[in-house]
Symmetry: D2
Subunit: 320 residues, 4 copies
Amino acid sequence: MKTIGIVTSGGDAPGMNAAIRAVTRIANSRNIGVIGFEKGWEGVLTNKHRHLTARSVGGIIQLGGTILHTSRSLDFKKDDCLQQAADNLNTLGVEGLVVIGGDGSFRAALDLSKKSKALMVGIPATIDNDVYGTDETIGFDTAVNTAVAEIDKIRDTAISHERIFIVEVMGRKRGFLAVTVGLTIGAEVILVPEDKCKMDHVVSIVKENARKGKKAGIIVAAEGCGNVSEIAKEIEEKTGSEVRLSILGYAQRGGSPTARSRLLASLFAEKAVDLLCQGKGNTVVVLQNGVVAYTELETACCGTKPLDPNLMKLAETLAT
Amino acid sequence: MKTIGIVTSGGDAPGMNAAIRAVTRIANSRNIGVIGFEKGWEGVLTNKHRHLTARSVGGIIQLGGTILHTSRSLDFKKDDCLQQAADNLNTLGVEGLVVIGGDGSFRAALDLSKKSKALMVGIPATIDNDVYGTDETIGFDTAVNTAVAEIDKIRDTAISHERIFIVEVMGRKRGFLAVTVGLTIGAEVILVPEDKCKMDHVVSIVKENARKGKKAGIIVAAEGCGNVSEIAKEIEEKTGSEVRLSILGYAQRGGSPTARSRLLASLFAEKAVDLLCQGKGNTVVVLQNGVVAYTELETACCGTKPLDPNLMKLAETLAT
Amino acid sequence: MKTIGIVTSGGDAPGMNAAIRAVTRIANSRNIGVIGFEKGWEGVLTNKHRHLTARSVGGIIQLGGTILHTSRSLDFKKDDCLQQAADNLNTLGVEGLVVIGGDGSFRAALDLSKKSKALMVGIPATIDNDVYGTDETIGFDTAVNTAVAEIDKIRDTAISHERIFIVEVMGRKRGFLAVTVGLTIGAEVILVPEDKCKMDHVVSIVKENARKGKKAGIIVAAEGCGNVSEIAKEIEEKTGSEVRLSILGYAQRGGSPTARSRLLASLFAEKAVDLLCQGKGNTVVVLQNGVVAYTELETACCGTKPLDPNLMKLAETLAT
Amino acid sequence: MKTIGIVTSGGDAPGMNAAIRAVTRIANSRNIGVIGFEKGWEGVLTNKHRHLTARSVGGIIQLGGTILHTSRSLDFKKDDCLQQAADNLNTLGVEGLVVIGGDGSFRAALDLSKKSKALMVGIPATIDNDVYGTDETIGFDTAVNTAVAEIDKIRDTAISHERIFIVEVMGRKRGFLAVTVGLTIGAEVILVPEDKCKMDHVVSIVKENARKGKKAGIIVAAEGCGNVSEIAKEIEEKTGSEVRLSILGYAQRGGSPTARSRLLASLFAEKAVDLLCQGKGNTVVVLQNGVVAYTELETACCGTKPLDPNLMKLAETLAT
């Protein structure tokens, strides 16, 4: 292996830069050159790239976002686009490509692998933690802590005004972020798309809490649950309690990565370079039971990661 | 003066607890007892209160919200309510009442002053900084920093995706928060209710920036500007640039107060107790040209604080 | 099981309150009463305690420190003290005792278990992460992030002045905190007590970096390495580079727990109550390969947890 | 005025980059070119510089440190050095020089002004807030908040262990940082170099607090007070209370500037460019009674800024 390429694709996640840095330095230490493509798959397609060195990736471990920029390239599914990308990799001598992103990025890598000789290795990086086969993705821990810090602030107002707040967190169609955030801020109720929203259940909890004299409370809802504004209104109508809404927005995606997101990025990067050096392409680095391992790219693309039902149950027990 | 009452009213602001602590300890040091009313004016009306001591206000200087809780009491304008509140103050021997809140709270104090012998002194505490006569209110600096920290995170994503973000900050009908936040995060455009939103101007800046190769950018909009979602759509349509929206919600109201909000709270509290001891009722403590002073309660209620046009101009110069 | 006792002992760690809250609420949900002892083992000895309820542990999940307070009780090893403590537990009807702390606290529990019928279950909570048998302790993740945030700030000055900084982090006699912090802030060198400090190695790295034009750098040293001030002087003398020293102090012990510390606290608490209900005393809850499990109390007390050599190697590779 | 130079000198302060950005963009908007010198006065001496443009100072408003780097140049007092620096400015066509730093930097500017035709304007930037003539310096508010956030964490441990902590903050020979930090964290005692440390007074407060049942407490000491370790020991011996020591180090110098530090930097920069355009050299921009103004460079160098005695008194009243 003489040259590795790196691409960051899809939504950005804190820790992507730590991964870029680690892949580059580890590759360099093994005398492998590194090329970074700009703006996700778009850069592979248009051949926009720059050479990365140990020095050029200095001072980025603590930065959110991605210095390579990213995009959601819709054209990439087209056959001629894939061929163009494969040709570009070939011309540049890229023998292995590290794809840092989520399942959409991995599906593109899988498509590209059918046209290109370059080995593809995925590194799961998304704040949604919705990649099959890995216990955790780069950026998830940071997003959880960002949301927790914000809701800790909202709780001040909730208590001071003795009000119910419903707070929408990100997570695309899944509830991973909502469950971990809800459990760790001590939410009264957690709403996730995986559980059909049982409004009656929510209403009974809010009423029961009011009866016990607990007038303030936080409901955490995943964005995948639907129109949270309507949910808020319905709860208000059915319980008679005032309900305020706060949508935690794009700040969840950014910010300096937590130590854990940086550590995971570094460990995943090491494994990714290892896999490429061992010729194990079409794979995705994963964390399984606390250990860094790998799975097949196709498996990571196809599977649906289950939500831990014990966490939901525990959250409910703790919300008394 | 033997007994002082404290009431926190209206929207909560970080630093209210620091003010409660300081009023209590300063009063205690002058052998004046302190009574804290619960839930804003509601507590004065229903006579829900507790005695505050140097010890009972310990460990709260760093807490957001208000340990006395607050509310927006709508009934308070009624004549018999005001009489009831005045009677309660009289019965409890409250000779001076410190009202910690915004202009709505001060108007209620003005109304109550017509029925009650107790001297009224206002301490401006609102994240909106929209109280006439004072350069700054308790909580404003904290809210500004909270918004700045969040937008610093959003910028990571804005740059990584080369996108325009429009971020709505609080401020009720005024643009104080938006201007200070916009200037200090380096916003490309700041939209405030005081300036008629000149969409053409915004569009030309976005287009000009795109032309100069500056594809990412942050537009800060005050909530008073109207439907920010529609504004976002309009900019998107007229510029052809992708525009994402993030509404910074209630987190701006909470959180541990900054040093400045705590300091202002302590200084304002000292002045408030001074004014009561000097028999200067129907006043509001203010910061004028960096010095703690006071103004008439009626003045603070009636005036409209101007937005500094130089700050807006400077922001525009810096956003090149 | 009718009554469970809780004691927090030794150095405080962020997340102890989340553990107290979770043990109490989970026990309550199973109709088990909870007694909290004050000031660590001292409270068991002097019978200072209070009843904990779902309500009385509300609003503490986000607080650092421990609402039960803690101490390092030196008298506890004496035979008559242990007997007194055992009698107190017996009189109160405490059938199970949850001990939240580090290995010192667990050794005391082991001693006490020889006198008392109450089942002892340990929950590892220490920022040092030096408890044998568990991958992670409550508070470790918070301390790591606190240190990382501080060193990220120090790096600003290091780069601006082109200076070497040596930063001492906590960790008692072990290097767990130093390694994780060093790896995630991108330290040029990490010094741990487990590795004999090879000064020659450090000097050669600093010189090599200077030669490559990298004049600023951070050296992270565990407190267990000895007099860091002398180490700084030695490096300065042998390299000719200016070296500044910063000792990260007690702030590493406090602060609002991270989401991960809160989550771990909640999961560990659930397991602890489970173990007590199953009659499995003299055990310690642990995290093993990402899964919550348990080990024998004696094992946790006696073993010496190894430092991961791969992390040290990875850190060195990444510090180029 | 065709060309302005910028130099950041002495200890770095958060907000220096915001000032560099603002000076550059404001100058550019008036068709004035900007040259940034590297590493403080050293860069002026050795003619190491780069051209700054609106684009090249983008994305730095939120960064701590200084992108121009800084140093403490000791050689600068020599006559031939000053002549060399003056010649360099002349050759580059620098007609005005903006000096961002503290009083040491201003003294160097004063010396240089005797050799150079370039107009000198100082912008006070130091976390110590010890520049005569200005109410506040760039970076002070950030350093205060950093220290406050750290001590808020230390308080968790202080309360949990019921211990006294003595925390040393920066401030060189002055107590500005210590007083503001002490007041806003609710310190039991504040020690500053301006007040002869009355150990008897400290001891009596600690004893009195212990008597009142307040066993935990924070003493904030300015670094200028002398050996804080010995002070801690003395308090311990004389009161019998356990006293722990924490020295807040270089983290106080770094980190992302607060909104206030960024705002001050922007306002000061605007005034600095104004002064240069008006031909008013040998001046320093200042904040006086909340208004941006200027003073003579010589005045700023020579005067000794007084510590506000009312703040000290207020702190004592509030620490009951």
